[in-house]
């Protein structure tokens, strides 16, 4: 990945999160504490401000730095989780990004460990795990198919009953709403693919 490509990815993802912050907050108001969009925006505002510096780093360092930035800015549940995802990916990825599938799998494993969670619990993992599977399976048109996979996975959280995260406090009342973290994961996936596809 060239620094230009990385820069485009960072900016596209940050803009997507920032633009959809209200939507994420609204989802979190329904089954959480109404701050997911605010949290993500705070994190990605900081990342976007540093985009040039971050993109200039080698890919492993860049991912680690973005992860740390997210941890230190987001707070809440999503900060440590997205931060852990990226920091773990940064540790595993090769400078050319060729082992993205393995690195992403490493990131998802780290998220599971950090969150003591599994797919099926109505969290971001319900999007991250299907993406991990698609990346492992591989396919030439993956960047075009991933957004739909992620979106379908996010939508699949609607009928779930949450057993992790704040929505779990609602029990059965969490059914019928999309998980905010699943939504942000799908959003970020789409933005990454868009930036790489351009």
């Amino acid at each position: 990945m060239t620094p230009e490509q990385l820069h485009r990815v960072i900016v596209t993802v940050a803009d997507a999160v920032i633009d959809h912050a209200d939507e994420l907050t609204a989802l979190d108001q329904a089954i959480g504490d109404g701050d997911h969009g605010l949290n993500m925006k705070r994190g990605f505002d900081a990342v976007r401000a540093d985009a040039a510096l971050l993109a200039a780093k080698p890919l492993p360092e860049a991912l680690g730095a973005i992860g740390l930035q997210l941890v230190m800015k987001i707070g809440g549940a999503s900060g440590p989780l997205y931060g852990t995802l990226l920091m773990a990916m940064g540790k595993a990825i090769s400078p050319d990004g060729a082992n993205i599938a393995a690195a992403f799998a490493g990131g998802v494993a780290a998220v599971k460990a950090r969150g003591k969670s599994q797919p099926g619990q109505k969290t971001m993992l319900d999007v991250l795990v299907p993406i991990e599977a698609a990346l492992s399976a591989g396919a030439p048109d993956l960047p075009h198919r991933l957004p739909a996979i992620a979106q379908a996975a996010a939508e699949a959280t609607v009928p779930m009953e949450a057993t992790r995260g704040r929505a779990s406090f609602l029990g059965a009342r969490s059914i019928g709403h999309m998980d905010p973290g699943a939504c942000s994961s799908a959003l970020i996936t789409a933005a990454v693919c868009r930036a790489l596809g351009d």
């Binding site: 907050t25 108001q29 089954i31 959480g32 504490d33 109404g34 701050d35 605010l38 949290n39 705070r42 941890v71 230190m72 800015k73 987001i74 707070g75 809440g76 549940a77 999503s78 900060g79 440590p80 989780l81 931060g83 852990t84 950090r114 969150g115 619990q121 057993t163 992790r164 995260g165 704040r166 779990s168 406090f169 609602l170 029990g171 009342r173």
Partner: protein, 328 residues
């Protein structure tokens, strides 16, 4: 949204600055407002550190001071503090006897404190997680119960014990035991509004209440018609006592906590209702605490907390405390 504020993104900072100025005899505010700490530390005492999302004031910053916390890390509104805040607090107030981290059971808080503990690995640390809210069913396969107003009870008792030179492991044990003997439940009469969101977190009809609400305005067990205070207290105490299952004649502390927009007259009315119900169930209310102490921004409503006390914990409860929000 109607708030005394200038702008949503400076609100927390301005408020922390006001707090630090008003209580400069007790606390200082660290650089970048990462934490509030005691002005004077006691060398050799285990450091008690808590923190969590803001919007619950005076929890935790108002409980920093002699007999209670050494530092509190304020996150953004309703958002856990970040690991750097916690790490810097540990480094500032650990005088060698180690740090006890008191964490409310929200995954955000738990994970951020956990990451902080990983980063500050060269300090001696232990963690107590508070999960006193009986509105949410307890279980090991899920997030479990929320930490709410009972946090203050645990912080007070641990604060007194630490002041009396209790060691880190013992404090952790005492904190866990106290948490197990402490249960709370809340009811909201109006929603709260996160400043940055600008609109209420939930909607309630003119004659509705949210039973079992969380301190972030999380929906509770059910939404029903607003009932009389006695009926509300009966339902809350009923749930608490069913879960605590105390033996007849046990002595307890009753904490009636306002959520931020509840007047004193209503809180004391709830004190009166709750104490009669507790007595009718064979519990002896030996200590009382009443006030808006673990709040949810501008939410109207209250929570009831019952803590079973024995002779030791009663003594620790009675021990002197001098913080911005609690003093005796």
């Amino acid at each position: 949204m109607k708030k005394l504020m200038n702008a949503a993104d400076t609100m927390l900072a301005e408020s922390l600055d006001g707090f630090a100025a008003a209580h400069a005899d007790i606390v200082t505010l660290a650089a970048d407002r990462k934490f509030i700490r005691r002005r004077t530390l006691t060398p050799g005492k285990v450091a008690l550190i808590s923190g969590g999302g803001s919007g619950h004031e005076p929890l935790h910053s108002g409980f920093v001071g002699r007999g209670m916390l050494d530092a509190a890390c304020p996150g953004q509104v309703f958002t856990s503090p970040t690991p750097d805040q916690i790490v810097e607090a540990i480094e500032a107030v650990d005088t060698g006897a180690g740090s006890l981290l008191i964490v409310k059971n929200y995954e955000g808080d738990v994970m951020n404190f956990e990451m902080a503990a990983e980063i500050a690995g060269d300090h001696r640390m232990a963690t107590v997680v508070i999960d006193d809210d009986v509105a949410v069913p307890n279980s090991t396969w899920s997030t479990g119960r929320r930490g709410v107003a009972g946090t203050l009870v645990v912080e007070k008792i641990l604060g007194a014990a630490a002041e009396q030179s209790m060691g880190l492991a013992e404090l952790q044990q005492l904190g866990r035991a106290m948490n197990a003997r402490t249960r709370s439940m809340g009811v909201a009469l109006s929603p709260c509004t996160v400043p940055a969101a600008g609109k209420p977190t939930f909607q309630l009809g003119d004659d509705e209440m949210e039973v079992g609400v969380g301190i972030h305005g999380e929906p509770g067990r059910k939404r029903t018609r607003l009932e009389a205070a006695d009926a509300i207290a009966e339902e809350m105490i009923g749930s608490i006592v069913a879960d605590l299952a105390p033996s007849e004649g046990r002595e307890c502390l009753l904490l009636v906590n306002g959520f931020g927009a509840t007047p004193s007259m209503e809180l004391y009315l709830m004190v009166n209702a709750a104490r009669r119900i507790l007595q009718a169930r064979g519990l002896v209310v030996a200590r009382y605490l009443t006030g808006s102490l673990v709040t949810s921004l501008d939410m109207a409503g209250c929570s009831l907390t019952v803590s079973i006390l024995d002779a030791d914990t009663m003594r620790l409860w009675d021990a002197p405390v001098k913080t911005a929000a609690l003093c005796w």
